[in-house]
Assembly symmetry: C2
Homo-oligomer: 198 residues x 2
Amino acid sequence: MPKVVASITTSLDGYVTGPRDGPERGLGEGGERLHYWVFGGPWTYAGGARGEAAGEDKAFLDAGMARLGAVVGGRGTYEAADHWGGSNPWPVPFYVVTHHPDDEPQDGGFTFVDGLATAIDRARASARDKDVSLMGGADIIRQALRDGLVDEVSISIAPITLGDGKRLFEGFAEQVELEPIGVRQSPFATHISYRVKR
Amino acid sequence: MPKVVASITTSLDGYVTGPRDGPERGLGEGGERLHYWVFGGPWTYAGGARGEAAGEDKAFLDAGMARLGAVVGGRGTYEAADHWGGSNPWPVPFYVVTHHPDDEPQDGGFTFVDGLATAIDRARASARDKDVSLMGGADIIRQALRDGLVDEVSISIAPITLGDGKRLFEGFAEQVELEPIGVRQSPFATHISYRVKR
């Protein structure tokens, strides 16, 4: 039975983006630092130069990739990532949650689905004996946690405060109990994994 | 030269208390779970039964105690803890930051000081070759971070969302860069230590 693993990066003060995020700047102003761990060190939207994850960050990514059976992401995240250049960057099915499934582009490898629960159901079926990665955005993760659709949560905490932006838990009033099941630390992030208690 | 180490426990959604915290319930409603790691497992304000930290939690506490040269806490924390029964529970000097230093009780082992920077200066002098623990509350830690008075930050993240209460970073608009310097994980908390970059 595939597990649904919600994975997202936040600052120490709980932001998933800096201020004024948008299509050209998915992580907001100054938000690049959230993903230094993804690219092995500093990068900027302006500069664009990017390396690769190393050490504990690579180990964390590799462990996730080894379990990856399908991906679910929100329409906002899809747009913020500029559609990943028009084609699904993962080697597994990608389900985009949207109120406008007719917007699905041809030949991009993305499947547009109206409704989070339906998207997760379809992703579970695609994932077979592997896991479903729920990549966000924050709104999708909050909704999935509220609706009891998440089996594990991985939070990668970047070693910064951003002071402004979008908070992962903005408006989230639920009391969720979790069980810590692992942690990795690099100079660029501390990755904490939890099982959601039901 | 003593280091100033800010240490506090938060929920995964960033709260240092649940809702309606007060003198009889310093961690707020449901906030006991923030400190399961301190007492080795579940406890409640109503029940009062408390064990001791074990495993990684004990190792984290012991490492802090071995470095402890002085403590600085806010008046609100002092009140929320019911004055620790009227006597300083630590074997080192304890400085309470307050606008009313004349309120200092006799023979309690607490020194009341008007002003955070002054309290930290006096604590540094007392700590000699050990460290100053800045125990909060959240408002004191935010102020110390803003004013550049913190050398290290230790955040103990309890594996819960509280959904309501007081946030550690409420109203904190600063961009602070940190360097991860250690992590420990138990069933009750993930303790992340950072050096503050200047």
